[in-house]
């Protein structure tokens, strides 16, 4: 199993990404061996070392969701409960991304089921759609509107297409890495991505701010 490249080669690493580098001396072999022995300090170290990676992957897919922290923890619980399935500790980062993708997909599907149940059970709190976005106070209104629009469109996509689109377009993953994270073939990911982009394009006209962002060429990130 090859390691997933977290940052595309043509994209400069931001200062924040250095946080993903391990700050502990424990290598992944020792870490996994400790976890398999039931060592709580190894579990805590795993969390500290890879919390950033997991959280960022989940944010790419879910946004700053109200259940983000729970999903991060859920990802680590799943990982700690199945370390015996990890044959190569070197593949730990890509394995954690895979588990993050599964946890995020499960949350999206659970939301959709919940939404349907609420629809049939009468008017209830429909606010919990996972589209709660947090952004900095200095973000301008246009960025806020574009982000909200992007999130609204993402929420309308099927879970598999949403995950493929988010990992490829937001996280900048290579297609083969997206396929590995989703546990499917490259051809399948290409199809999902094509469908997601077609659905995304079909809805952008409803959101002028997002439409404008998409039409812009070049420019710096705000």
């Amino acid at each position: 199993m090859s390691l997933i490249r977290l940052v595309p080669p043509d994209r400069p690493r931001t200062a924040d990404e250095t946080m993903l580098e391990p700050r502990f001396d424990s290598d992944d072999y020792t870490l996994i061996a400790g976890i398999r022995r039931g060592d709580a300090s190894a579990a805590a170290t795993l969390f500290e070392k890879y919390h950033g990676l997991v959280e960022r992957t989940l944010v790419r897919i879910l946004g700053f969701d109200s259940e983000l922290a729970d999903t991060v923890q859920e990802t680590f619980i799943r990982a700690l409960g199945s370390t015996r399935l990890l044959r190569d500790p070197q593949a730990l980062p890509s394995w954690l991304i895979r588990i993050s993708v599964c946890a995020a997909s499960d949350l999206i599907r659970k939301r959709k089921r919940r939404w349907w149940l609420q629809l049939f059970s009468g008017p209830q709190d429909m606010a919990d759609q996972g589209d709660v976005w947090f952004f900095d106070a200095e973000a301008d209104m246009e960025a806020r509107q574009a982000l909200q629009a992007a999130q609204a469109i993402l929420n309308s996509l099927p879970a598999q297409e949403r995950v493929a689109f988010s990992l490829r377009r937001f996280d900048g993953m290579e297609l083969k890495d997206v396929a590995q994270a989703c546990g499917c073939s490259l051809a399948t990911i290409k199809r999902r991505l094509a469908r997601a982009e077609a659905r995304f394009s079909a809805q952008t006209h409803k959101y002028p701010a997002l439409d404008k962002w998409l039409a812009e060429k070049g420019g710096e990130e705000t």
Binding site: R11, T14, A15, D16, E17, M19, I35, G38, D39, A40, S41, A42, A43, A44, T45, L46, F47, E48, H51, G52, E55, R56, V59, R60, G63, F64, Q73, F76, I77, R78, A79, L80, G81, F134, F135, D136, A139, A143, A146, L147, A150, F165, R168, R169, F170, D171, G172, E197, F200, L210, W213, L214, A215, E216, K217, G218, G219, E221, T222
Partner: protein, 409 residues
């Protein structure tokens, strides 16, 4: 860079800025967090094990119920499953036994049934149902070739599910096809009979019921519910049909076979005679049909009981004096006289009787030839006269060389 890639970079940059702010404030994970995560993982694993066990248990119960339901439908409660091997005899004494084959085919033997595997291949098998009932499910492939024998009946299968019932004591045979189709031949069946899904076929004791019932696609009724119907003409030819003796053995069947006849037709002549004696040989000679008596006479002859053979044949001559069976009996009496008793005078008498009763009959050539042989032992001049007649009738017959030798040609 595509417009989606540009959009993604802008959104990711906003997300990363927020993430940085969030993570800057995160406290360093404590040992308690590690313990908490490990404990939750352990609990989750245990719950999953319990869930898997519960699902498996439910699946097993459901599977068992379905199997029992299916077996009950067919009156089957399987005690054990054995792997089929060639040359094996499996007997289901009190409870049913399933036999599994390499290609996934299965035979479920009802209690009181017995089967012998003559041959078992990757996609083929040849079984002999010695007695009782079997539910046969053969997996279909291009090379599937299955044969199930029940007494003198043969069922050819390519992929189907059917039940077969064979009671040798009663001579009762039945087949009910649930899926696919089978071809049944032998026994009392004159020509191979194709039986499709939803149809059943039964031959009961004494040949009183011989019927193909049901419509294709409709579930076959159980064997016990097959109504008595007159035999279809294609299955049982008329007794007047003019067929050779050897052919009669396989084609002409007038009634369901008594046990001695089953043994005789299986080539078990000594057992056939024992059975006939046990049942009362004289009674059989008094009551049996001409065809059965001819079979009995042949069994007696092959079992070395020429006396009993002659008794049976003379019973035919007495009881069916005008029929073909009587003429056949005359011919066979001639053979026994010549071969067993060396009484050539008596043999010549019987061969002449046959030729007188059946001039131009199917066995005329053989009768004239045998007569020639008998006369050669008695009177050379009479034999030479008979040789001329034989050569006149059959110049290239099997006794032609013998006749020419007698004539010095």
């Amino acid at each position: 860079m595509s417009r989606f890639a540009r959009l993604g970079r802008r959104i990711a940059a906003l997300q990363d800025r927020k993430l940085t702010a969030m993570q800057r404030n995160d406290p360093r994970p404590s040992l308690a967090l590690g313990e908490h995560l490990l404990r939750r993982a352990h609990e989750r694993r245990r719950q999953r094990r319990v869930s898997v066990a519960a699902v498996l248990a439910v699946a097993m119960v459901a599977g068992s119920l379905a199997a029992v339901s299916w077996m009950r439908k067919h009156d089957q409660v399987v005690l054990a499953t054995v792997r089929a091997e060639a040359g094996q005899r499996v007997t289901a004494s009190l409870l049913d036994i399933a036999m599994s084959f390499g290609d996934g085919s299965q035979v479920v033997l009802s209690s009181g049934s017995s089967v012998r595997t003559e041959m078992v291949g990757p996609t083929s098998a040849s079984l002999e149902l010695e007695r009782g009932r079997a539910l046969v499910h053969v997996m279909h492939t291009k090379s599937t070739h299955w044969t199930v024998h029940a007494g003198t009946y043969t069922i050819a299968v390519t992929g189907t599910r059917f039940r077969v019932d064979w009671q040798p004591e009663k001579g009762a045979f039945s087949v009910g096809v649930e899926e696919g189709s089978v071809r049944v031949s032998g026994g009392l069946i004159a020509e191979p009979l194709d039986i499709s899904a939803g149809q059943s076929f039964a031959l009961e004791q004494g040949g009183t019921a011989s019927a193909l019932v049901g419509k294709p696609g409709v579930p076959a009724p159980p064997a016990d519910s097959v109504p008595e119907m007159p035999p279809p003409p294609s299955l049982i030819p008329s007794s007047d049909t003019d067929v050779p003796v050897q052919a009669r053995r396989s084609v002409f069947r007038r009634s369901a076979a008594p046990s001695w006849r089953i043994e005789a037709e299986a080539g078990h002549y000594r057992e056939a005679m024992e059975e006939a004696e046990r049942r009362g040989f004289d009674g059989i000679c008094r009551d049996a049909s001409g065809a059965d008596l001819l079979t009995l006479a042949e069994a007696a002859r092959y079992a070395g009981r020429a006396d009993r053979a002659e008794q049976a044949l003379k019973a035919v001559r007495t009881r069916f004096s005008r029929g073909e069976d009587a003429s056949m009996a005359a011919y066979l009496l001639g053979r026994i006289a010549a071969e067993s008793r060396r009484d050539h005078s008596d043999a010549a008498h019987w061969f002449r009787t046959y030729l007188a009763e059946r001039p131009g009959g199917r066995l005329s050539r053989e009768a004239e030839g045998r007569l020639l042989e008998s006369l050669a032992f008695m009177d050379r001049s009479t034999a030479r006269e008979a040789a001329r007649v034989y050569l006149d009738h059959y110049p290239s017959g099997p006794h032609a060389a013998f006749a020419r030798n007698l004539l010095g040609l």
